[in-house]
């Protein structure tokens, strides 16, 4: 029988995969993808609890999280484009100066 704990564990695993991607990868695009994965894991928690307490407010919150995720992606990718145009690199360990 599938319980809330199953969903919490799945969400924890997905979140940790996202954390690993953020900490391990050098490519800033894959780091943004990993942040997206972490937000998805959090959404999964919200939906599971919304189902558990039988209240749709949790799903409304997921709606707002998705809005913020879309905003984060658009702005992050715009910054990556500006960064690549100035420094010719997308690796985070080579981006080590404030001056372009």
């Amino acid at each position: 029988m599938i319980s809330l704990t199953h969903y919490l564990i799945l969400s924890a695993i997905l979140f940790t995969i996202g954390v690993t991607g953020v900490l391990m990868r050098r490519n800033v695009i894959i780091i943004l993808l990993s942040v997206e994965l972490m937000l998805t894991a959090v959404n999964l928690n919200f939906v599971a609890f919304s189902h558990y307490v039988n209240n749709p407010v949790g799903q409304v919150f997921v709606f707002f999280v998705m809005t913020v995720a879309a905003a984060e992606t658009a702005l992050g990718l715009a910054i990556v484009i500006a960064l690549f145009r100035n420094l010719e690199t997308v690796n985070v360990d080579e981006i080590n100066q404030m001056k372009g």
Partner: protein
């Protein structure tokens, strides 16, 4: 094992495997393409949790629009120089330890939590019409945050255009 259990384990396994592949592939195009089936299977899990509206949104927005945006940006770059170099950061070993600690902590917390094992019976209420329930909450109790979200998206649209604009086009 019933159909519900089987579907949960199938969707969870595929979501985890594709997520692992997405963060471990050296090629960013492969990473983006592996994240699309991952988001599709998370949408399937939303259906299992009777959140049909969010399942459709999950396919349309993160798996559809955002992944297309990522692909466009990846194609914009010259990837030849990125190939051949190592894909992981210097701090990868430390990052692995931190990630293992986080997953152990979260799983222990989830297993030892006080939530009773089965889901309560979902006969009435939100199970009847999920979209109407979510929309009813969104346009009454959460109307102000909803309008604020549209303002955020407007600001992001102008911000992204200003940030990605070429400097020499003045």
């Amino acid at each position: 094992m019933g159909l519900y259990d089987f579907m949960f384990y199938y969707l969870a396994a595929v979501a985890v495997i594709t997520a692992l592949l997405a963060v471990s592939r050296p090629n960013p195009v492969h990473a983006v393409l592996f994240l699309v089936p991952c988001f599709f299977h998370v949408a399937g899990i939303f259906v299992l949790l009777q959140a049909e509206f969010l399942a459709v949104i999950q396919i349309l927005v993160p798996a559809g629009a955002l992944m297309v945006l990522y692909l466009f940006v990846v194609f914009l770059f010259n990837l030849h120089e990125i190939k051949g170099t190592r894909a992981t950061h210097r701090q990868a070993a430390l990052a692995g330890i931190v990630a293992a600690a986080i997953v152990i902590l979260l799983v222990v917390l989830a297993v030892n939590s006080l939530f009773p094992v089965p889901f309560p019976e979902q006969a009435q209420g939100m199970a009847a019409d999920n979209t109407a329930a979510v929309g009813g909450e969104l346009f009454t109790k959460f109307l102000f945050p909803f309008e604020l979200a549209s303002l955020v998206l407007l600001a992001v649209m102008f911000g992204a255009m200003v940030l990605a604009r070429r400097e020499d086009s003045e």
